[in-house]
Amino acid sequence: MEVEVRNGHFGYFRQEDILTDISFRLPSAQILTILGQNGIGKTTLLKCLLGILPWQKGRTLIDSEEMNYKKHINRIGYVPQAYRFVFPYSVEETVMMGLAGKIGAFSLPTGKDKEQVRSVLAEMGIAHLQKRLCSQLSGGQLQLVFMARGLVKNPELMILDEPESHLDYKNQILVLKMLERLTRVRGISCIINTHHPDHALRISDVTLMQGRNASGEATSLFGPTADIITEDNIKRFFEVESKIITIERSDHTKFNTLVVTL
């Protein structure tokens, strides 16, 4: 699925614009990372994309046509930042909710739906958690459950809100690898919020960087990840000195990462 935003504007109050003139284009089967400091409006942007919040100006295009909630929502999997529910749902019950758009108001999940849940749990490597209650899981396991819920409907676009932010190193890499595989193997487009520029460098094709200029107005940059994540831009948007370095793995493959030097 190809996603394009043209001149998106949004503010909760009239005086203050959180998102100004957001424009980007994500080609099919690629990864877009949205980078910015905490509180800069990354989650707000995702909500505008989903249609939970309305753009005040501008528009979203899906495969070159106007985004329509009813028409497109069942092709989009959304993964919010993991949180604990009020009610103690099991993993299986939670992931099943990802199929809500396909199960009628007066219907119950069928055996086929259960099969679909089981296969996505296996794909995420959490089949053994199926009967456990979400309230008993660790943060990393819970994040995987949320991802499974977004993935269970076989979406063409996954939108993830800081999927790796509360995880330890091992789980961070696990999630990043999973996203790469979804994109390269299954051809799913991904939009990922993160405040880790090094994660963006590792997996993304294109990057949108959000920040504020000297007079406090919202501003953003968009382009291929390598062009956007530069030492200059990191200084401008994150207010830290940094260095981008190339690292060679033991199997001689190389990747870029970013080290904060201040």
Partner: protein, 336 residues
């Protein structure tokens, strides 16, 4: 909570227990009727043969409508409670939350005041004011631009207080010899003196409302995740929430019309059931239906058998409800 659940077995057990309790309630009482005679009276009445005698009157005209009403009100209030808890994402709410019970209570008190207790005349205003209180609560919750499920809960409580004050006003002006005792007794809740005529009036409302809520039960899971989550899962929560509120209100108002304010059932039963079935409304609603029916049946049994002067059921539900609630509060998953 970690035990493996077998919901099929649970339903079967619940259904059998409920039927057994209903049957027991028919022959045990101040006037004991042998079980064999109960069966022959029931069979006779159903097949159209005229059965007469004191036993027939006791079983068919007095006990059967009372037992049926009891089960219907208990089941209806529990399902309504489970639905309210789900859509407001709050295990601490119940049908009283929207002020429905008190609105309906005020309507019935008005009916008693103006007609001195003609059955039909208390039902119409009870139902009307029950619905009015939801509409009021809903309107109040929307006067701010940004609304959340909590604003509706708050608005419901405010409406409840308001109608409670109006009930006091009605009591103040009521005739102290006849009307005041009638209002007070009715408000405390009772299943005594139930007739088939009353039953046939409210049965379609309670049965119909409960049936539709049961059909919607899996969707309630989605609403229990909150509006934004529901929206991102592909469900527009607005209209569905209003429909569920309306159905649960119809059930509550119909219950209040015939049996007064029976509190606590809608709060406790879903919480107890959640400990057995888990949070999934697919299982929570049917389990609440059976458990609610049994709970009220047992309490009504105590009300009419154990004491000489019949205790109003509303008092018993409160007395039994408080310790049960404390137990549930300690051992259920929420509020850790």
């Amino acid at each position: 909570m970690g035990i493996k659940r077998n919901n099929g077995l649970l339903y079967a057990l619940l259904a059998i227990s409920l039927l057994a309790l209903m049957f027991l309630s028919l022959f045990i009482g101040r006037y004991t009727v042998p079980p064999g005679m109960v069966v022959s009276i029931l069979l006779g009445k159903i097949s159209g043969i005229t059965v007469t005698g004191t036993e027939a009157t006791v079983v068919w005209d007095i006990r059967l409508p009372r037992v049926l009403l009891c089960v219907m009100v208990g089941a209806g209030l529990s399902v309504a409670g489970a639905a309210f808890q789900g859509i407001f994402q709050n295990p601490l709410v119940s049908p009283d939350i929207l002020g429905v019970s008190y609105g309906a209570g005020f309507g019935a008190a008005l009916g008693i005041l103006f007609t001195s207790g003609g059955a039909g005349m208390t039902m119409v205003p009870a139902f009307g004011f029950g619905l009015l209180s939801v509409l009021l609560a809903y309107t109040i919750s929307r006067i701010k631009k940004v609304t959340s499920p909590v604003s509706l809960v708050l608005a419901g409580m405010i409406v409840g207080f308001f109608f409670n004050a109006l009930i006091s006003l009605v009591k103040l002006v009521a005739d102290t010899d006849s009307q005041l005792p009638a209002i007070t007794y009715w408000l405390m809740g009772s299943f005594a003196n139930t007739t088939f005529a009353e039953l046939s009036l409210i049965a379609p409302l309670i049965v119909g409302g409960t049936a539709v809520l049961l059909l919607l039960r899996w969707r309630m899971n989605i609403l229990s995740m909150g509006d934004e989550e529901a929206y991102s899962l592909g469900i527009n929560p607005g209209r569905l929430r209003v429909a569920i509120i309306a159905l649960a209100t119809v059930i509550t108002a119909a219950s209040v019309m015939v049996s007064g304010i029976v509190g606590w059932v809608g709060l406790i039963i879903p919480n107890i059931c959640r400990m057995f079935t888990g949070a999934d409304h697919k299982h929570l609603l049917p389990a609440s239906l059976f458990m609610g029916g049994m709970f009220l049946l047992i309490l009504d049994f105590i009300a009419r058998v154990v004491t000489v002067a019949e205790i109003p059921i509303g008092i018993l539900t409160a007395i039994a409800g408080v310790p049960l609630f404390i137990y549930v509060y300690k051992y259920s998953g929420w509020g850790r």
